[in-house]
Amino acid sequence: MTAYSPLQPNHRPPRTHEKIPLNDLEKRLLNEYQKGLPLSPTPFQDIAEQLGTSEALILQILQRLQDTGVISRVGPVFKPRKIGASTLAAMSIPATELVRVAKIVSDFPEVNHNYEREDIYNLWFVVTAPDSERLQAALTKLEQRTGYPLLDLPMERQYHIDLGFPLWC
């Protein structure tokens, strides 16, 4: 067994699920720059000037937050590709059967997210396929393999603008 060494650059530190404390500068950095980064040759210098500090400190903070897994990156968020068809599906599964049925659902390559929710509809998953015909085929197969009916709840309209969310939530 090898111990975690902070000197190995490609070794990602284990993700912690404990709350990581942030100071005021770090909070401002995260709140104000989730939705946009200056598109100038020197974005970190610009941020430093806007926050009244040095570029070196901004880079040091971002590196630390990235190394500890608080941020996944400083970079692009892509719009989900509109190609293909997808839906949100829900099933109502007896508690004793949930893990077994969830495994069957997760094994479908068309399923990307699959999670439990506290409700009579306790299994929720997103299904995607290249076109609506193949999506329907996957939904039918999901019902057959699990033996449970599903609710097919495709998105009809989107109202939010995704800008991340502030740390006062």
Partner: protein
Amino acid sequence: MVLNKQDCQLIAQIQDGLPLTSRPYGEVGRRIGLSEDQVIHRVKALQAAGIIKRMGVVVRHHELGYTANAMVVWDVPDHQVDEVGARLGARDCVTLCYRRPRRLPDWPYNLFCMIHGRRRERVLEYIDQLVITEQLGEVPRKVLFSGRRFKQRGARYQ
């Protein structure tokens, strides 16, 4: 917008993050044979075309203790759903807001929104506030907190 080879190279270089250096776009340009100006210009074009939604600090809220995740579903009269959806979608702590079809008689809810918080009680308080400020007291609703994650495949571009 049709992506050319250089756009694909650019996306491949930046999708895991910009280099944390003084001149990140210049550094990315050096790797793929573009000038700093050309990189900035292409990033702006990808943003204008809607392929890149935003450039920014991508926070892993889970790591900061945002582990309470509630899906709130509402049964809004059809003639009001777009207006209510737009108002809820604009609220700061609402991260997703969609209209979806009802499936009667099992599922009467047509508006879905997602709310994140550090603690369940805080999320419930926030929902209570939403109901008051957005005058949704008469609208039937249900709150579904998330439990175990059985599968989560991160979205990558290519």
